[in-house]
Every structure is written in structure tokens, then in C-alpha cells.
């Protein structure tokens, strides 16, 4: 019996040891490096492909300026960040990630100077300027072109994310029909107060890589225009899904999306979106599709008379029906814009009298910016054809 009890005590000790051993099995930090076979892991894959979007097709022209299209002198404490499709120059502060400074270029006037100034003010929760106040904006230079200097403080919402109070925005806007440039510097007001002079130094140093520096010669003023400095140009012939088209100047081709043949962005910050979608047959019919679009804008369905009165322009070997719907836009992902404008076009391709496919072109954006793209939209629709 004593032997059994001793065995029992040993079991108690053993179980306690097991508990302690298992309890100490904690993992923390990085594992040791090891070499493995790739086993299907692919390196260097594009963002679009990583997230299940179709890889972009060939585009005539350059979709974005190369990363080294600009030269500049970074002030102390500033860091050069990776450019994006819209931010051709993207810099910030090493010690404060909330501070952003970026350069955007557009092929056209981007909706005009006043609209862009007021849009930036709206991002700070401020109301639009009066005509007189617009005229009083201080003059500046951006990439050798005349510009105005913007400087305001408010609650910043930007292109998304939470509202940030007491944010300041300093910017240079060079707006012209042949090309526009926007240099925007945002961050906490106290930080920008400290960095304001650095921003001016940075802006003065900014130039196209192919252009001489400002200190080289006075000729820099005519050489480094936004258009010459690598403004995104996608103009040219394109094709996909059996369609061909001419993309308007200043439109930026976006990542491919399911159900869409092509997507473009325009506007100073890419706020205007235009895309082409193709459905088989009659695509559900003209009226039902146009009414669906009108419903997205909060508008009532078309009457027969209104439908008959819609403008038609040549497209795809036939006619495309055009529609314009102002209103409050609510998309399929519940996104909403109060004062928006939708430009739409629908064209049918028929074989032997029967509709073979329906082509939809839809442009949507803030009203003032979408209106500025009306001519480009019509040109785009008219350029559509079959391969």
C-alpha cells in the first residue's frame, strides 16, 4: 500500500511538472528565419492582381508619370514616399505620418481655379470664397507656371477618414486649360506653422526631371509646365472586350473592375469616374436601365415623351442615347454625394436585327466637375466602336 501511495505522490509531482512545462509554452516575437520553397508564393505581384482585380490591359500612352519624373530638394526632416497613380510626387515628414504633401497634375483645367479652391476649403469644413476673395488669393509659381497660394485651417476630412480638427492646408494651384498642377500640403496646424517655410523651399525646388532647375536659367519658367512635366496622358486608341475607343486627354485609367470593360478617373483629385460596361442582348432594355440610373440620382422614371426626346449621337455603328441626371447620387455600395451629376449613354449593337449586346457608359461626379467633363464624355462615347 505504501508503494502505491509513493507512486501516487510521484504522479502528483509529474502532473505539476507537466502543468508548469505546458504553461511556459509562450510564443513571442519573430520566429527564426528559415529557407523554404516558394510553394506558390509569388513576389512582385501588382496591387490589382493581389486583390483579385483583373490586370490592366495595354494602354496607349503613359498612364502615370514615372517615379523619377520630378526632381526636388527635400527639406530637413522630410521623407520621400512612394508615388501613387494620382500623387506623382508624394512626400511627408519623418516624424509625423499625418502630414502629407503631394503633387497632382491634370491635362485640363480640372473644373477651374475657383471650383478647386472651394473644394479644398470644403475639405476643411469651410464655405466657398466670394468672387472678390478668389481674386485676392496671393500669386505664386508652381513648376514655372503662374499659380495661386492657398492657406486655410479647419476640420480636415480630405478624401476620407475621420475628421481631424485644427488641420491646416497650404497649397499651390496652377490651373490652365492646357494642363493644371496642384501641390497640396496638409497636417496639424502647429506642425505646418513650423514647416511652412520648408514647404515654400520644397515647392520652389520642384521641377520636371527633364527641365533645368530654377536656378539654372530663366528658361525654366516655360519648360516645366504641368503638361510637359509628365501630366497623365492616356489619350489614344484602346481596345478590350471587342470594343475600341479613344480615351480623352486628361482622363486617368483606373484599376480594372469586375463587370467593367474600362474605368477612367478625372477631376483634380480623381473625383469623377467614368466606366464602360457591356451586357448581352438588350441588357434589360433602354428604359429600365435609364430609370435605374435616374433612381440612383433620386429622380423619377422617364415618361415616354421624355424618353423619346433624349439626345442621340453616333456611336458603335449606330446611335447612343444620352442622358443627364443631376441630383443626389446613391450608388450600389451605398456611397452618396449630395450635389452630383450623372452623364449616361447606352448603345445597342445588333446582328440581323436582334440586339447582340448593350454597351453602357456612365460618368458620375460632383456636379461642377462632371459638367466640366461633358465634352470629353460625348467625345468618348462617339469614339466607341467594335473591333
Amino acid at each position: 500500500m505504501e508503494a502505491l501511495q509513493r507512486a501516487w505522490a510521484a504522479a502528483l509531482v509529474g502532473a505539476t511538472s507537466l502543468l508548469v512545462a505546458c504553461g511556459s509554452n509562450q510564443e513571442s516575437g519573430w520566429s527564426e528565419a528559415k529557407i523554404v520553397e516558394p510553394q506558390g508564393t509569388r513576389i512582385g505581384v501588382s496591387t490589382a492582381e493581389r486583390f483579385g482585380m483583373r490586370p490592366m490591359g495595354p494602354v496607349t500612352g503613359s498612364a502615370a508619370a514615372p517615379a523619377d519624373a520630378f526632381q526636388f530638394t527635400l527639406p530637413p526632416g522630410w521623407v520621400d514616399l512612394k508615388p501613387t497613380s494620382m500623387r506623382l510626387v508624394n512626400v511627408g515628414l519623418a516624424d509625423d505620418a499625418s502630414v502629407e504633401c503631394s503633387l497632382t497634375l491634370l491635362g485640363g483645367d480640372g473644373g477651374g481655379l475657383a471650383a478647386n479652391v472651394d473644394r479644398w476649403r470644403a475639405q476643411l469644413g469651410l464655405g466657398p470664397l466670394s468672387a472678390g476673395e478668389h481674386e485676392d488669393l496671393p500669386a505664386a509659381t508652381l513648376l514655372g507656371k503662374p499659380a495661386v497660394r492657398f492657406d486655410a485651417t479647419g476640420t480636415y476630412t480630405g478624401m476620407g477618414g475621420p475628421a481631424r480638427e485644427n488641420f491646416r492646408m497650404i497649397g499651390l494651384l496652377s490651373v490652365a486649360a492646357e494642363g493644371s498642377g496642384f501641390l497640396k500640403f496638409t497636417g496639424p496646424a502647429e506642425v505646418l506653422e513650423r514647416e511652412s517655410a520648408n514647404f515654400d523651399t520644397f515647392a520652389a525646388s520642384l521641377r520636371a526631371a527633364s527641365a533645368p532647375s530654377a536656378s539654372d536659367s530663366a528658361a525654366s519658367a516655360s519648360a516645366a509646365t504641368p503638361a510637359a512635366a509628365g501630366a497623365p496622358e492616356t489619350a489614344g486608341a484602346n481596345s478590350r472586350d471587342g470594343l475600341v475607343w479613344e480615351s480623352p486627354a486628361g482622363w486617368q485609367r483606373g484599376p480594372d473592375r469586375s463587370m467593367r470593360t474600362v474605368t477612367y478617373f478625372s477631376g483634380p483629385g480623381g473625383e469623377v469616374e467614368c466606366y464602360v460596361a457591356v451586357l448581352g442582348g438588350d441588357g434589360g432594355g433602354l428604359k429600365s436601365n435609364l430609370d435605374r440610373w435616374r433612381q440612383q440620382m433620386g429622380a423619377a422614371p422617364l415618361t415616354a415623351a421624355e424618353l423619346a426626346a433624349l439626345e442621340r449621337i453616333p456611336s458603335l455603328g449606330g446611335d447612343a442615347v444620352l442622358i443627364e441626371v443631376p441630383g443626389s447620387y446613391r450608388g450600389m455600395s451605398n456611397e452618396q454625394v449630395e450635389d452630383a451629376l450623372m452623364l449616361g449613354a447606352m448603345a445597342l449593337e445588333s446582328v440581323g436585327g436582334a440586339p447582340e449586346r448593350a454597351v453602357f457608359v456612365k460618368l458620375i461626379g460632383p456636379r461642377n466637375l462632371a459638367e466640366a467633363e461633358r465634352a470629353s464624355f460625348r467625345q468618348f462615347v462617339a469614339s466607341l466602336g467594335s473591333e
Binding site: 502532473a15 505546458c22 519573430w30 476620407g160 473625383e271
Partner: protein, 389 residues
């Protein structure tokens, strides 16, 4: 001294008492009942962690919170109760050898559960015909993997459990110091469940947009394996230069970046466990019930490759493969909407559990103890009856 002895006696009586055994067994029953109910709202994984792999928990009935001991605490106390009870209560009794053996068997069951809890891995490996893998991946646990391509095409990999940064209570970015590479990492945002969407012009993204896409946070799904984590990660070079990237459980490839002329990649993925052999799916077979898409049976013919040797094994629903401490079960297949002739995949559930066979051994020990104890009683009873007649 006497007081100490009396406290010791008191504790000994408490931990060896039948009353404690009954109370703990009732609590176990209650936890099982409440945990089962809670699965309706919280899902299996969450409830397993909260009710059965915990020391304490709060069960809510409406808005009223009821504090309860967790499964780990109850089972731990029950194990102590069994041990101390076996030593103390039976110390002066004769002919209890069989009962003690039964106690040992039950304690082996506890030990098996403890080892399973603390030192086991489970997951799955999913293979299309012709695919081969030397790892399986967790259903629930995520990891961040830093990959560096090598000249020979292989990858240098180091991993970090996402527990290291997934719950920053302050909401502030979590800096992840690195060694051996010329940069640090900062996880600026982490979401247990998110979708990644392309940014359109007509709506504001709730999170930063990176290369045209952003993470759209979603509510945590009760079915934990459905949660697709996403993280924004900044790579901070030694000179302060930052690169921002978005990684997602469901992305098809890691985020690639370059620092100091060297290429690296970051991958947020389900935690991977190496297997000491490779498994290649040679053929997946299934037979459906007549005129239905419901399989009557399905199985996988796999080649198990260890070094230069390879052998063919069939894994079916009740015939797992046991190899080098791993057990591979036939779990499922897909795609569920596959048409005739489509390529199919097979999912093999993989478990590494050092105590895999312990419950079997424990049951044998318990059976021996019971036969010993009741056999002795039977013999004594029969002896008495024979003597009486």
C-alpha cells in the same frame, strides 16, 4: 504550528472532498450547457476560448453578467481533487488498488486534454490535383510573414503571430522592431475582419487608400474562420523613409517592397505549420448518391514524399493518414458548384497532437482498474457464497 497544521488539514479535506467533486462536475455541466447556448451568438471558436479555455468568464443573461469559473480552472481543480483525494481519502483503506488505477486512468485523460490544449496544432491543407505542399495552415490563427527572395528562387521566411499587434488598446500604431533587416515595421491599423475594395470617386474611404484600394472594416463574424483580417503596415527604413502597404488574409500574393536595393515581401496569412513530409494530391475521387450532388463517399489518393522516397496513400473519411506525429483526415472538397470535368480540390484536416493516443491508453488503464476492483469483489462474493453453501 498547530494553526498551520489545522489550515493544512482544512485544505487537504477541502481538496479531497466528494463535495468539491460534485460541485466541480455540476459546474462542468453548467459550462457545457451555457457554452452550447452561447455558440448561437458567438460561434464555436470564440465560445471554446471563453468558456472552456479560460480561468474565469462572465456569462450574460440579458444585461446581467454572471461570473463563472472557466473550463481550465474547473478541470484543473478536478484534477487536483482526484490526485489529493486518491492520496488522502484512500490512504488507510485496504484493497483499493483497482480504484487507484482507475484514478490514474482518469488523470491520464486530464493530462491528454492539457497537452492537447497547450501543445497541439490543427489546421488543414487544401490541394488541387497535382498540387503538393509541405505545410498545413490554421483555421483561426493569423501570422505576418516577412519574405526575402533568395538567389536560388527559394524564400527566407520569418513569421510573427498577429497577437503581437492585433489588439492595440490605445488605437495607436504598433511598432515592430526588426533584427537583421534595414527597416522596422509599424502596424498602423489592424482589422480582425475586413474587405478590401477599390476606392471610387463618389465615396469617402473609411481608411487610408493605398494604390487605389482600401480596407473596409466589417463586423466580427461569429464563425471565426470566416473573418478575413487586414492590416496597414508601414515599412520604415533607417533613414526614416516610409512605405505603406495593405495586406489581407485573402490577397493572392504578398505585398512586395524594396529597401536598400533589396526586395522583401509581407504576407498576412493563416499561420502555417511545417510538415516533415510533402503531400501531393494525385487524384481526388468521389461518388454521388444517384441523381444528387451529394457525395456518398470521397477520398484522396496522395503521394507522401519524404526525402527521395514516395509512397501512395488513400485518405478517406474514416481512414486518416498517421505519419510522423501528424494525422491527416479527409475533411471536405470543392468547389461545391463544380460542373462535371471541373478541376476539384481536396481539403485534408491536419492535427499534430502529442497526446493523440493517450485517451485510448487511459481507457485501457481505467478498464484494467475496474476489472481489478470489481473482479476482486466478484471473487470475494463468490467465495462467500461457496463457503455458505
Amino acid at each position: 504550528m498547530t494553526a498551520v497544521r489545522s489550515i493544512g488539514q482544512l485544505l487537504l479535506r477541502f481538496f479531497s472532498s466528494f463535495g468539491l467533486s460534485v460541485a466541480l462536475l455540476v459546474l462542468l455541466g453548467l459550462l457545457t450547457f451555457l457554452g452550447t447556448l452561447a455558440q448561437v451568438d458567438r460561434g464555436l471558436y470564440d465560445v471554446q476560448k471563453a468558456y472552456f479555455e479560460s480561468l474565469f468568464l462572465v456569462h450574460y443573461v440579458g444585461n446581467i453578467g454572471i461570473p463563472l469559473p472557466g473550463g481550465n480552472l474547473v478541470l484543473g481543480l478536478l484534477a487536483v481533487n482526484l490526485l489529493v483525494g486518491g492520496m488522502w481519502r484512500l490512504r488507510n483503506r485496504k484493497n483499493v488498488g483497482g480504484i487507484l488505477v482507475v484514478h490514474v486512468g482518469i488523470l491520464m485523460l486530464f493530462a491528454a486534454g492539457l497537452v492537447k490544449l497547450k501543445d497541439s496544432d490543427d489546421g488543414h491543407t487544401t490541394l488541387y490535383e497535382g498540387d503538393e505542399k509541405a505545410y498545413f495552415q490554421s483555421y483561426h490563427v493569423n501570422e505576418l510573414a516577412l519574405l526575402k527572395p533568395q538567389a536560388d528562387g527559394r524564400l527566407e521566411v520569418r513569421t510573427l503571430d498577429t497577437q503581437a499587434f492585433e489588439t492595440p488598446k490605445s488605437g495607436m500604431p504598433v511598432r515592430v522592431p526588426m533584427e537583421g533587416v534595414p527597416f522596422d515595421l509599424e502596424v498602423t491599423r489592424y482589422f480582425i475582419n475586413a474587405n478590401v475594395r477599390p476606392k471610387g470617386p463618389m465615396f469617402n474611404a473609411p481608411t487610408p487608400v493605398v494604390d487605389g484600394v482600401f480596407a473596409d472594416p466589417l463586423a466580427r463574424d461569429a464563425q471565426n474562420e470566416r473573418n478575413g483580417a487586414a492590416a496597414y503596415v508601414d515599412v520604415i527604413a533607417k533613414d526614416g523613409t516610409r512605405q505603406s502597404g495593405l495586406v489581407w488574409i485573402y490577397d493572392t500574393a504578398p505585398w512586395t517592397f524594396t529597401v536598400g536595393g533589396e526586395t522583401y515581401a509581407l504576407d498576412l496569412r493563416r499561420k502555417r505549420f511545417d510538415m516533415p513530409f510533402r503531400v501531393k494530391l494525385e487524384e481526388f475521387r468521389k461518388e454521388d448518391h444517384p441523381r444528387t450532388g451529394m457525395p456518398r463517399w470521397f477520398s484522396s489518393d496522395v503521394a507522401v514524399q519524404k526525402g527521395a522516397t514516395s509512397r501512395l496513400v488513400t485518405i478517406s473519411m474514416n481512414e486518416p493518414l498517421r505519419e510522423d506525429g501528424l494525422v491527416l483526415y479527409q475533411a471536405s472538397w470543392g468547389p461545391s458548384n463544380a460542373r462535371p470535368g471541373d478541376r476539384l480540390f481536396s481539403t485534408l484536416a491536419v492535427v499534430r497532437n502529442p497526446s493523440d493516443q493517450w485517451p485510448l491508453y487511459a481507457c485501457i488503464v481505467i478498464a484494467v482498474g475496474l476489472v481489478w476492483h470489481f473482479g476482486r469483489k466478484l471473487i470475494r462474493h463468490l467465495s462467500r457464497e461457496v463457503a455458505r453453501t
